[in-house]
């Protein structure tokens, strides 16, 4: 049944002219993610420009100003589905604002697809994209060596690129990395295997997309329930509305409330459809408790024996997204789960050169820079390290004056408690 399908979110990243648009175009076309009238409208544009072949990138470049300039300036979201899954593609442009866009697109992805032109091999961009994918802790990385048709479907060329890439990737935190040779233009190994690369015995791209295991990527261990709002239709009912950001909860389970530390027990799990005995991430539910405790938005329900970090100082990898550089010692707001908290960005410890992965001593974090920042919050926040829990380990930085989102943060372990086993699955 269609509705029993699950959902896979992927981010695609590539460099200029590596065939990413052709690949997405083919996927959309072969899975009916693109319609005839949309195709006709880009055919018209090709005719107007006097070009013979239609440019599939026009499907992806949604804005008029993008089409005029022939560049992609923002992340585009695309949808398609097959018999097995529904897919959401966050397509990140390769050249302009690449860091800001890729971090944005990667933040919700289960899988990163990184494209390499077989004629060019591993480029700086390939390294950048891979670094960002691992920084954002995307569970799966798929590297596609595209345009194999232009190198005579040579196994040697593919093996050399594979070796180069894996050598570079060995410096990144371990992830599930897969590499495949394809030709998006000719269709080899995209949806069908084709006969040109019989030396390769792996799955096709689409088969991989349909079968990569994403259920086990979720954190079903740490129950975290940030309260979004309180539902009080009458004097007899008081429920806490929110989304289970990680973990599982059952009626009768003991819970504690942060920051008060007060304890209670789950009385019921309410939804419009029915009362539930148990609920799990990422369900949106309303929880009621055995006894009345003062709870409001920004509080978090947890299990009594599984408590997140509670600190007013934390260390994070910050990606800066505003023209005006980060001000060291400056006051900002962060939004973390359902809390908005004033903070001071106390110290920029270092900046990361995302081409070499080297740390640089620098006193400024500018647009598209990534660096390690020590943050002092006005009140304690409840978090888990990002690698353990994406939902409670991430935040955005807001400029209180302009209201702009100026940065995104990934919470690292407080240095004193960094366990040795993390990052080495």
């Amino acid at each position: 049944m269609h509705k029993e399908k699950d959902l896979l979110r992927l981010v695609t990243a590539g460099s200029i002219d590596d065939g990413k648009s052709t690949l997405i175009g083919r996927l959309l076309y072969e899975s009916k993610g693109i319609y005839k009238d949309q195709l006709t409208s880009i055919e018209d544009i090709a005719k107007k420009k006097g070009e013979k072949e239609i440019d599939l990138s026009l499907l992806v470049d949604g804005l008029k100003s993008e089409r005029e300039q022939g560049i992609t300036i923002d992340v585009a979201y695309r949808y398609f589905s097959t018999q097995k899954r529904k897919f959401i593609i966050a397509d990140s442009p390769g050249h302009v604002q690449y860091t800001r866009n890729m971090v944005t697109a990667a933040s919700t992805a289960d899988l990163a697809v990184i494209i390499i032109d077989a004629r060019k091999g591993v480029l700086e961009q390939t390294k950048r994209h891979s670094f960002i994918a691992t920084l954002l802790d995307i569970p799966h990385i798929l590297v596609l060596v595209n345009k194999m048709d232009l190198v005579g479907y040579s196994e040697d060329v593919y093996e050399k690129i594979k070796e180069d890439y894996l050598q570079f990737a060995s410096r990144l935190p371990t992830h599930d990395i897969q590499i495949k040779p394809i030709s998006a233009l000719r269709g080899d190994m995209v949806v069908k295997k084709g006969n040109n690369m019989n030396w390769y015995d792996g799955r096709t791209f689409l088969h991989y997309l349909e079968s990569v295991n994403i259920v086990s990527d979720r954190n079903l261990i740490d129950f975290r329930f940030p309260v979004q709002t309180v539902i009080r239709p009458n004097l007899d009912f008081r429920g806490y509305a929110g989304r289970i950001e990680s973990g599982v909860i059952k009626v009768g389970d003991d819970i504690a409330v942060l920051p008060s530390g007060k304890k209670s027990r789950i009385k019921s799990i309410e939804t419009y459809d029915r009362k539930l005995d148990k609920a799990f991430t990422p369900q949106s539910v309303v929880l009621t408790l055995e006894n009345h405790i003062d709870i409001s938005r920004g509080d978090m329900l947890i299990r009594q024996r599984n408590v997140p970090e509670i600190r007013d100082e934390l260390e994070a990898e910050v990606c800066w997204m505003a023209e005006e550089p980060m001000e060291e010692g400056g006051e900002y707001l962060i939004k973390h789960t359902t809390n908005t908290v004033p903070v001071i960005l106390k110290e920029l410890r270092y900046k990361i050169d995302i081409n070499t992965l080297h740390r640089e001593e620098k006193k400024e974090l500018g647009l598209n820079d990534i660096g390690r920042v020590i943050i002092k919050a006005q009140k304690p926040i409840f978090f888990d390290p990002y690698v353990r829990n994406h939902k409670t380990g991430s935040f955005i930085i807001i400029d209180e004056l302009t209201n702009a989102t100026v940065g995104a943060g990934i919470i690292w372990y407080p240095s004193a408690t960094l366990p040795e086993t993390e990052n080495s699955q």
Partner: protein
């Protein structure tokens, strides 16, 4: 054991939309749900009921009535407040309706601008609304593919595609200055097919025009228009009867029907699955100029 904790993609989308709606209620002073009477609005309404259950929807609905909506839409709309226990505001731009604004007389762009965009902006400001929830989906049109779930608008209601706030994870920046507002699209990640599957799963009532039926129609410039009080045959045209349905609903003079035998939800779903054209194929407004939806949104259109 993991299999016991698997969420289907529709449940996943539903949970995301509910989360978005609750953020809106919690973060804004005065939200409103823009109710267009169409299938997406029907889904949006059900999701809002779910988000605040067992409470009522804590904000009003608003319909921008251009005075050219299909009669069946208005009948359907007028039953909503009693049936769904919601507060529904109907806003009309009387000034321009009295001036007999019509697409054939003033052009589609101008008609849309005054009866929809301007009327919407007036409706929002007269109600003092700082957040407007709408049923637009990214899949619908290419400029929408780039829009955020929380779409910031300046004091003129205008969208600046080059200056959008980055939107990461599911953390939404809802901060605005006085007179600014945000449009919120909880259905951003839904497709037309998802909407139909959800309508079936949830048994949601929709305007009967979505179902194929023998109707009186006029064929004009490649569009199939309903022969109703708004559309009468011009010279050389004639009213004929055909089995048609609407994939999207808007104003009668600008919304075309498609020939179809799909008179049940199952048949509609089957039809959508094998459709060769997008659902907006018969919405004249998207095709007037290259990037016309984008231009409208910059002026404050949904």
């Amino acid at each position: 054991m993991e299999n016991g904790y698997k969420l289907s993609y529709l449940d996943n989308l539903e949970s995301e939309s509910i989360h978005v709606m609750r953020e809106v209620f919690a973060e804004f002073e005065k939200p409103v749900l823009l109710y267009s009477i169409g299938k997406d609005s029907s889904v949006l309404l059900r999701l809002a009921q779910k988000a605040f259950y067992p409470g009522k929807i804590p904000f009003p609905l608003m319909h921008i009535d251009t005075s050219y909506k299909f009669v069946e839409m208005i009948d359907f709309r007028d039953k909503i407040p009693a049936k769904e226990n919601v507060n529904l505001i109907v806003h009309k731009n009387d000034k321009y309706i009295k001036k007999r604004m019509h697409p054939s007389k003033f052009g589609m762009d101008k008609c849309c601008k005054f009866l929809k965009t301007k009327s919407l902006l007036d409706g929002l400001s007269s109600g003092g609304f700082d957040a407007a929830l709408g049923g637009a989906r990214r899949e619908e049109e290419r400029s929408r593919a780039k829009e955020r779930i929380f779409s910031f608008r300046d004091q003129f209601g205008a969208w600046d595609p080059k200056n959008q706030r980055p939107e990461l994870w599911s953390i939404y920046n809802a901060r605005i200055n006085p007179n600014e507002s945000v449009r919120i699209f909880p259905l951003s990640n839904w497709t037309e097919l998802d909407i139909w599957h959800y309508i079936k799963k949830e048994n949601i009532e929709i305007v009967p025009l979505y179902f194929a039926k023998k109707r009186k129609i006029i064929r004009r410039d490649g569009l199939i228009l309903l022969a109703d009080q708004f559309n009468s045959p011009k010279e050389g045209e004639e009213v004929e009867e055909a089995m048609v349905r609407f994939r999207t609903l808007g104003c009668s003079p600008c919304s075309g029907a498609v020939e179809s035998e799909a008179d049940t939800l199952d048949k509609i779903i089957e039809e959508v699955m094998i459709a060769m054209n997008s659902e907006r194929e018969n919405r004249a407004i998207d095709y007037e100029t290259d990037g016309s939806m984008e231009e409208k949104k910059k002026q404050g259109y949904f």
